[in-house]
């Protein structure tokens, strides 16, 4: 029987090596798999390269991983936020490397990795500091910049609901980077709030087919502090 469910977040992130390139889903706190990041913090891997849209908020989750000195480099589009003090401090003291990527290039580079594309030409960033040194080409009258795929050893993503094959559905804008990061990593770990029987997900509504996912762990919704969801009752 194919069964991708694991019993704990510790089991979900087992085997991550030092120096691993790790994608973390989420846009701000929506879709950020905080419990999986906490497990990675406990697991101990260091010298990590993190791919996330942001660079941590407040003191928990990704920010805690940064504060613990476990991240060598971060690839993101929008590091500076009102509550990104841990990143700011590390960056200013030269203790972390930043690869700043326009958000659409970040998304497409991740998608390209998952789709087996070796690179692509895009108009985004042409003539700006973020395209400096990159190959350019005039295509159909428009200047384009060559961008390369971003692969990962591990993707930590958050979904709403999943089955034992790893098929996933998401919740509203918490979807964001999850589906493409799942495609781009050798090992994709998804946290879900609800586990369902095989066949219970509407096949027309599955967003991430299970072949992109290797491990699924259930996180009770009530325990999801920074996952974006707040109950209204």
């Amino acid at each position: 029987m194919i069964d991708k469910f694991v019993a704990s977040t510790a089991e979900a992130v087992a085997g991550v090596r030092d120096g691993a390139q790790v994608m973390i889903g989420g846009f701000g706190t929506a879709g950020l798999p905080n419990e999986l990041i906490d497990a990675l913090l406990a697991q101990g891997a260091k010298e990590l390269v993190i791919v996330n849209n942001n660079a941590g908020n407040g003191d928990s989750g990704l920010a805690a991983l940064l504060a613990a000195g476990r991240v060598r480099k971060i690839i993101c589009s929008f590091p500076r936020q009102a509550d990104s003090w841990h990143f700011d401090q590390l960056y200013r003291s030269g203790k972390i490397e930043l690869e700043l990527v326009p958000q659409g290039n970040l998304a497409e580079r991740i998608r390209a990795a998952g789709a087996g594309i070796g690179g692509f030409f895009t108009p985004t960033g042409y003539g700006t500091d973020l395209a400096r040194g990159k190959e350019t080409r005039l295509i159909d009258g428009r200047w384009m910049v060559l961008e390369s795929p971003i692969h990962a050893d591990l993707a930590l993503i958050k979904a709403e609901r999943g089955d034992r094959w790893g098929n996933l559905c998401y919740r509203m804008t918490a979807r964001n980077f999850g589906p493409i990061m799942a495609m781009a990593a050798k090992l994709t770990v998804a946290s879900v709030h609800e586990i369902v029987e095989l066949g219970a997900l509407d096949p027309e509504a599955v967003v991430t087919p299970g072949l992109f996912v290797q491990r699924v762990v259930k996180i009770p919704r009530a325990a999801t502090g920074a996952g974006g969801f707040k109950t209204t009752t």
């Binding site: 846009f27 990527v101 985004t124 509203m172 980077f177 969801f229």
Partner: protein, 211 residues
Amino acid sequence: MTRWTKNQIAALVARDIHYGAVVNLGIGMPTLVANHLGAAKEVMLHSENGVIGVGPAPAPGAEDYDLINAGKQPVTLMPGGVFFHHADSFAMMRGGHLDICVLGAFQVAANGDLANWHTGEPGAIPAVGGAMDLAVGAKKTWVMMEHTTKAGAPKVVARCSYPLTGLGCVSRIYTDLAVLDITPAGVLLLEMADGADFAALQACTGVPLLR
């Protein structure tokens, strides 16, 4: 010189958005435009984090932080609204499927160059987000900004001194003093704030204005 308020500028932008348009409103001042679109003019609001059909802010207590906009503020979803992942969201921009994006800016040059992501100052932490993708992707890129800096320096300039976001991408500028079109012949004055004086406007603009 009388200046338009931020809400008055937002109302002008909203006035010029056509019925049925797919629109992305940038973080900051452009967000105000949503309040002026009115129910009669149906438009589809796109947000980079994977949603079309963004509705107004939820009632206090009804916030759901899985449903946010690019500024990470809680929003609501209009009937017909849909969710999609990030690569699709930016394909919508880059692929030319958005009619209009409205962005804030540090500077806009007479040739439509846009600078809005980084001051380039030493020690400043750069953050670009979706600005570069939006600037070059939407069919029309409009800018909404103060006409001058706090120190009074023009923000409509001959050449941007700040790092560029996109080249030749801006087609229209809405400021607290004027509405300007970027044309092949130069920067064309479309309208001025009530009681504004052309000579005074020209004096705080970094390029000659056509009219």
